[in-house]
Amino acid sequence: MNPIDQSGASGKNRQEHDQELAELKHLLRQSMPPLSADQLEPSTDLWPQLRARIDSQLSADRANSQSISKTHWAGMRVPWFDWALAALATAALLFFPGIIPALLYHF
């Protein structure tokens, strides 16, 4: 619905609005004329720019993921307490194999 109709304005108001709109259009088009067909064509092929952007982003992503992966493994430090716990658990399983079914039952 036209905003003029929504405001409940009369037909006279709508006529005034249409007239003002036409005048405004005329003024605007004098200052900023509609673009011609020539102006609506890109001056160069834009694909190389886009391709370069995609390639640089892809290589940056790849470098980033490699760096994250390297950092992940290189920076991985297992505290001595975890090693001790793992050793204790392994020893318990070796010396008391009877607990294996009980553990399996609980898991």
């Binding site: 905003p3 003002e20 405004l24 605007l28 088009r29 200052s31 900023m32 890109p42 952007r53």
Partner: protein
């Protein structure tokens, strides 16, 4: 596999084909909004970059062209927001095709300034509807809003411009 399925799967050749099929329309649409060649080229590249990045969100059964126009409109609107009050329209685009003595250079400057001061979302619809004469349905589809909202924005843009240009209109009207 058809072109759109290949594009969604990340096939660069399919994307290049889509780019070549649509770049002129997308560029023309952006150019009509921003009215600056270099900016329109940059924003066209930005539009297709966003399209490529969000390809997995596109359903191959959908309308690629409508989706591209929507993204292009958002990219152009983002630009207008960033450049609000800073955007300068190039003189070669401002010069009328047939010089009208009633519209002096000063008057054109004032109109241009009033137009540049419009809030970006109003400026977008005003450029397309009032200057480029784009149909409301086309603007609504590209901006992702209803036709009624486009009409409201055109109405408000008109009111804002009218307020700023009232004195100028009277002056030019008196001359005509």
């Amino acid at each position: 596999m058809d072109l759109l399925h290949r594009f969604v799967a990340g096939d660069l050749e399919a994307f290049e084909q889509l780019f070549r099929d649509h770049q002129r329309h997308v560029y023309a649409w952006i150019m009509r909004i921003v009215r600056n060649t270099a900016t329109a080229e940059d924003l066209t590249v930005e539009t297709f970059w966003r399209i490529y990045r969000s390809r997995t969100q596109f359903r191959p059964e959908g309308n690629f062209s409508a989706w591209a126009y929507r993204i292009a409109t958002n990219v152009a609107l983002d630009h207008l927001r960033r450049a609000h009050r800073e955007t300068e329209l190039p003189d070669n685009l401002l010069a009328p095709a047939t010089p009208d003595p009633a519209a002096s250079r000063e008057a054109r400057e004032r109109i241009r300034s009033a137009f540049a001061n419009l809030p970006p979302k109003y400026r977008l619809v005003a450029t397309l509807a009032l200057i480029e004469d784009a149909p409301y349905q086309e603007i609504a589809a590209a901006a992702g809003v209803s036709v009624a909202l486009v009409k409201v924005r055109v109405f408000r843009a008109t009111r804002l411009l009218r307020k700023q240009l009232r004195a100028l209109s009277a002056e030019i009207g008196a001359q005509l």
